[in-house]
Amino acid sequence: MTHAPMEKIARATPAPVARRIKGLSDRAIAWIFVAPSIFLLLAVNIFPLIWTIRLSFTDYRVNRPNRDVEWVGLRNYERILTDDGIWATMQATAHFLIWTIVLQVIIGFALAYLINKKFKGNDLWTTVIVLPMMLSPAVVGNFWTFLYQPQIGLFNYVIAFFTGADPASFSMIGDVNLAPWAIVIADTWMWTPFVMLICLAGLRSIPDSIYEAAECDRASKWRQFWTITIPMALPFLMLAVLFRGIENFKMFDLVVQLTGGGPGNTTTLTSIDLKREAFERWRTGYSSAYAVILFVTVFGLASIYVKALNKVKER
């Protein structure tokens, strides 16, 4: 998005009109309007971040406030980066991240493509599909544990109905091999609509005239799909991937309620691991370093990705 028109407006406003304004100058009003928001964001977002960075160089523990705090330098970082447990956590997160994105992009794009065929009642059905993403992930995660119960759960019953397996023979959240998929399925159910909505916005932004021109040139539908639809919707698709990527890297509520990180550590995503270190083992300094590493990772990956996205947009 471009800032040029706003700059023009901003520059145009003061000159002829400003002289007639009574009271405060525009500059003062601008600051009065922006300051409370900046102050709140500084107090609740930036100040804590700086505090986290500071704590990450210490061995502070919240549950022992009277103990002397020692400055340990980079030792926390060293310990985290050489810890095998953390790499296992990263692997679980990568599995979750990759599969949720792949499934959500494929299903979400397909749904958007079908909805864009503008059949009767498509907006009502779109709303029905969107419902899951509006709900509380923790409450939904809690309820999915019920759906995943062996024997009595609806999910197991449906799978058993179609495959003929015994519904009591498998436990989606109790089995080390199935649990990583249990969280992928629940997240895909919940967030596919988000990808679908972004894709739909992308598809609707393609002007009909391009397809009309292609039709005149007798390009096949298949060719139109690959040479018009996909390239023009690609920036939107990439944007959807970016948002799901950031959100799922932070994933906590849905998964912690669904599996609690278990069985074993098979679904212990980074946020869940971080929560255990910080609020169960109370290793505040250590977990602060952990938080900084996560933040830098997200920020770095997102920045590289946004650069790539801008290149695609320019094309």
């Binding site: 998005m1 800032h3 028109p5 901003a10 009109v17 304004i21 009271g23 525009d26 500059r27 600051w31 309007f33 922006v34 409370p36 928001s37 709140l40 964001l41 609740v44 977002n45 100040f47 971040l49 505090w51 704590l55 919240v62 079908l114 065929k117 059949f119 009767k120 009642g121 709303t127 029905v128 599909i129 419902l131 509006m134 709900l135 509380s136 923790a138 409450v139 939904v140 999915w144 119960q149 024997q151 009595i152 609806l154 988000f194 909505l197 972004i198 009909d208 397809y211 939107f236 950031i246 890297f249 932070k250 309620q257 971080l274 929560k275 602060s288 938080a291 933040f295 997200v298 920020f299």
Partner: protein
């Protein structure tokens, strides 16, 4: 609709419709199951095969709002007949009502914190968005980037120092603390969305008002605010839904007085195992308002989701 070469054929539309409706039915099934389970008796809720047809029972809802105890058989026989229908439901389980449960309080906390943070966020966000849209704020692009980057932090990462800070100034487990926190979390997206809505209002309207002798403030609330009302309303819905659904901060920073419903619902347990109908009833009461909201306001909501994301 006028005919065009690009209009999908009837067959295509029919196929697309069937596929989308099929997906919608699959996606709605778990939600329907939650709602249905709330009206089942505990035995029906865990029956195999899962019961689609069942005798509706309000046991789940009664259990959700009450705490119950067992009394000795003699005392039980000596009790007067139940005065109300819910007492009767509890008596049929062989128990008596001991008092109300905490669900009502938790739900009320969700309402207070949700609406409180939404109102505050709209006041701060609209003002900041207006300034970003209309004035030359020094470092404008940096400020906007700063606002956006705050969304990349995992909640747990900032929860540690916020926990320490809130404990220091006495905001831990208070409504005010949670309202301020949720306002801050929502503010970035709100400013971003609202700026887009205000950008769309022609600046000439205000110029006309200013020439007519309005001050900047008057022009803001008499000309800009009414024009931006729809945008503000749809942004407010997003903030409300976020605050309503939030779990990570709520579970870490609240325990008693200010706890909201999402951390509470999973902790509902019955006698000898999870009371699934009560959990389902709690979830239903909590989730259905959002579902109804979504369906009623779908035009604004769906536009807001894509608008907010695509603009970034």
């Amino acid at each position: 609709m006028s005919f065009s070469v690009t209009d999908p054929s009837r067959g295509t539309k029919w196929f697309a419709g069937v596929m989308v409706v099929a997906y919608a039915i699959i996606t709605i099934l778990p939600l329907a199951w939650i709602i249905a389970t709330g009206f089942k008796s505990p035995a029906d809720a865990i029956a195999y095969p899962p019961k689609v047809v069942f005798e509706p029972s309000l046991e789940g809802y009664v259990n959700l709002f009450t705490t119950r105890t067992r009394v000795t058989e003699d005392d039980f026989a000596a009790l007067p007949p139940p005065a109300t229908w819910y007492e009767k439901v509890v008596r049929d389980q062989g128990m008596v009502i001991a008092g109300p449960s905490r669900y009502g309080e938790r739900f009320l906390n969700s309402v207070i914190i949700g609406f409180g943070s939404t109102v505050l966020c709209m006041i701060l966000g609209t003002a900041a968005a207006y300034a970003f849209s209309r004035f030359r704020v020094p470092l404008k692009d940096d400020l906007l980037f700063f606002i956006l980057s705050t969304r990349m932090m995992p909640p747990i990462a900032v929860a540690i120092p916020i926990f320490l800070m809130f404990r220091q100034i006495g905001l831990n487990d208070t409504h005010l603390g949670m309202i301020l926190l949720y306002t801050a979390v929502n503010l970035s997206l709100s400013v971003w969305l609202l700026k887009g809505f205000i950008d769309e209002i022609p600046v000439e309207y205000e110029e006309a008002a200013l020439i007519d002798g309005y001050t900047r403030f008057q022009a803001f609330y008499k000309v800009v605010l009414p024009q931006a009302a729809t945008g503000i309303a749809s942004t407010a819905i997003f903030c409300l839904i976020f605050a309503w659904n939030e779990y990570a901060f709520a579970v870490l920073l609240t325990s008693g007085t200010a706890q909201t419903a999402p951390p509470f619902i999973p902790t509902i347990i019955g006698v000898g195992g999870k009371d699934w109908p009560a959990v389902a009833a709690g979830a239903t009461i909590f989730l259905v308002p959002v579902m109804v909201f979504t369906i009623l306001l779908r035009k604004h909501l769906l536009r807001g989701i894509t608008f907010g994301a695509v603009r970034k």
